[in-house]
């Protein structure tokens, strides 16, 4: 038993246990993901509760579980800004995107736009921006996940990236959206339960006196006077505002999140799933904030910084301490559980991104742009499976190439493109009668290019904290381009539309409104 504890045996058992469980789920899912609709959107047969958990699972990423908790632990108030921004992003999704999207779309975000705007240019632009967002997000998750997994497992970063990549490909290849969703659901339940248990243990440590916990956290922090006030981590208020804008508006343009609304049978079910997802997400965000404070109060910032400079190990150190300390059976058991769950969060999120990317490549690019006729629906699944292998391997290869760089900015870039390119197109196509093909292409191009361009000339890439030209002052001073790129995307879509004649060919605006509001013509759930 002692050998098992001292050599991290419990952690390996927990990891192997989760991987085994996820592969069993994938095998079970393979029988349920038959047909195009089954593979891409789980036959639209998920219940609101299941989809709500899966939606919340997308939010409960390793970034939230480990990264944000670490930021809260080290920098206090500023760490919370991320959580608030992610949650605020759901206001837009819930009010004006989820239900209309369910009624108007089929498999991808581009389908919604294509209902009225049928030119190949629009489909190419929207599928291109969706793929870029997915690739940026996937790369950040693979590199971050590889580094985290190597902290938690007795393997190197390369092996961790390959392991995550191979499992991600296996889930999607054999189980499609059903497997990606069930892995996400299991992980959501596990990560939420782990958070709740740790919060209870942390509160018990202070005899359930929340005030005492907060007081100890502040006094133990690096800068007690600044701990509960803004300014500890984010130094430029305009940059923080820019980040908050991208988080609040970008979530509604993330392809892997939006695709989830196609997996339920109706718009009302989409609304109910968003409601369930929100309850889980808010409760999780509150728990992570409390755990961040608890880590500083119980473990202390010096110990957290000694293990990982960005604080990613705060929650694992807290779990070990609450369980009785390093080397104790309780400490190792809690550490094993938390580590396996952290690994599960990485796997579940990358699988969701992978299935969304495969849908875009197969349905938008192959099915609509390059395939002339024939049994397109059936062939799309075959193409999606090939795309899963090729895109997955490419992402894995890229992650191995850039693993030594700080690629955290890619998450911000993904949100910026989502808010600057995808969101204007989705909103204009659903709510603006005058929107045209040229407007859509202009919005996507301007939003995407301005986001990428501003990041490339900003401090995330150039300068002391960047990747290249370390001794050069970056020409653009903000790390997050949203403050500029989002208006650029919207204005380009507006001007592009007003400078062209109203569209002909696609559904009329009134016909689209009828479908959006009543569900007439919306994609139905497949028979069991």
């Amino acid at each position: 038993m002692n050998d098992l504890i001292s050599h991290g045996g419990l952690r390996i058992i927990a990891f192997v246990g989760f991987i085994g469980l996820s592969l069993i789920l994938t095998g079970w899912s393979a029988r349920r993901s038959r047909g195009t609709s089954g593979f891409f959107v789980a036959g639209r047969n998920l219940s609101p509760f299941q989809n709500g958990l899966a939606l919340a699972g997308d939010f409960m990423s390793a970034g939230s579980f480990l990264g944000v908790t670490g930021l809260v632990a080290l920098f206090g108030f500023d760490g919370i800004v991320y959580q608030v921004g992610f949650i605020a992003g759901w206001i837009m999704i819930m009010l004006i995107v989820a239900e209309p999207l369910r009624n108007c779309g089929k498999y991808t975000l581009s389908d919604v736009v294509a209902l009225r705007l049928r030119s190949r240019g629009v489909r190419a632009a929207t599928s291109g921006s969706s793929l870029l967002i997915s690739l940026a997000y996937l790369l950040a998750q693979l590199v971050g996940g590889g580094a985290l997994a190597s902290l938690l497992l007795p393997i190197g970063t390369n092996a961790a990236i390959v392991l995550i990549g191979v499992l991600m490909i296996a889930y999607v290849l054999f189980g499609g959206m059903v497997a990606a969703t069930y892995v996400q659901i299991v992980k959501a339940v596990l990560v939420w339960a782990a958070g709740a248990v740790l919060v209870l243990l942390a509160l018990a440590h202070f005899s359930f006196d929340v005030g005492a916990l907060f007081n100890k956290a502040r006094l133990s922090s690096l800068h007690p006077a600044q701990y509960f006030v803004p300014g500890g981590y984010f130094k430029d208020p305009l940059d923080t505002l820019s980040l908050a804008l991208a988080l609040a508006l970008g979530t509604a343009g993330l392809p892997h999140v939006m695709t989830r609304f196609y997996t339920v049978p109706s718009a009302v079910a989409a609304r109910k799933s968003a409601k369930i997802g929100l309850i889980v997400m808010v409760s999780f965000a509150v728990m992570m904030i409390v755990l961040g404070f608890s880590a500083t109060a119980i473990v202390g910032p010096a110990a957290i910084l000694a293990t990982h400079s960005s604080g990613n190990s705060a929650i694992t150190l807290l779990a070990t301490t609450l369980g009785g300390g390093a080397g104790s059976a309780g400490g190792e058991l809690l550490l094993a559980c938390v580590s396996a769950i952290a690994f599960a969060t990485i796997l579940a999120v990358v699988s969701g991104i992978m299935i969304s990317s495969a849908s875009t490549i197969s349905h938008d690019i192959f099915g609509q742009l390059f395939s002339a006729s024939g049994d397109k629906e059936r062939r799309q699944v075959v193409v999606a499976k090939i795309a899963t292998i090729v895109f997955g391997m490419a992402a894995m290869g890229l992650a191995l190439l850039v693993k030594t760089f700080n690629v955290a900015f890619l998450v911000g870039l993904a949100f910026a493109i989502a808010a600057s390119a995808n969101l204007p197109v989705v909103l204009f196509s659903m709510y603006w009668r005058r929107f045209t093909d040229r407007g859509a292409v202009a919005a996507v191009l301007a939003g995407t290019l301005s986001s990428i361009g501003l990041v490339l000339v900003g401090p995330a890439v150039i300068g002391a904290k960047g990747i290249i030209f370390k001794d050069v002052t970056p020409p653009f001073w903000l790390s997050n381009p949203g403050l500029f790129s989002i208006p650029v995307g919207f204005i380009a879509g507006w001007i592009g539309s007003l400078t062209t004649r109203a569209n002909a060919g696609g559904a009329s605006f009134d016909a689209q409104q009828l479908r959006m509001l009543s569900g007439l013509g919306a994609e139905a759930a497949s028979e069991h």
Partner: protein, 124 residues
């Protein structure tokens, strides 16, 4: 399954009739429901996002004020976070209650009208 082409054709037929008949057409019903929904959800969205960004700007602009204690260790800054979470939940609860009471029945009615008219029952 109704294709968008058939819905389009129905709308063109209805638009042509609009000038000759005074009864409420499918186009009118759709536009009325869109107006009802848009008025509610966009107002709610502007208000919620306005409060979110308003609070955020206040936090960024006045960090000193945020350190004012409200109760024990709970300062104004942390209270703003609590308010933001509560506001997001309240916004969606408000929307769901409105949708179930005022919107869903009208959407179901619109669907019935559309199905009836596309089946030929809507001929005046």
């Amino acid at each position: 399954m109704h294709s968008m082409e058939s819905i389009n054709a129905e709308f063109e037929r209805q638009n042509a009739k609009r000038a000759r008949y005074s009864s409420l057409s499918l186009v009118d019903k759709t536009q009325a429901l869109a107006k009802l929904r848009n008025r509610f959800v966009w107002s709610l969205l502007y208000t919620s996002l306005g409060i979110y960004f308003g609070l955020l700007i206040a936090v960024l602009e006045f960090p000193g004020v945020m350190s004012l204690s409200v109760y024990g260790e709970l300062n104004l800054g942390l209270l703003v976070v609590v308010i933001q979470f509560a506001l997001t939940i309240a916004t969606f609860w408000g929307y769901c209650a409105w949708a179930e009471r005022a919107y869903d029945p009208k959407a179901a009615d619109l669907l019935r009208s559309a199905l009836a008219q596309s089946n030929g029952d809507g001929h005046e």
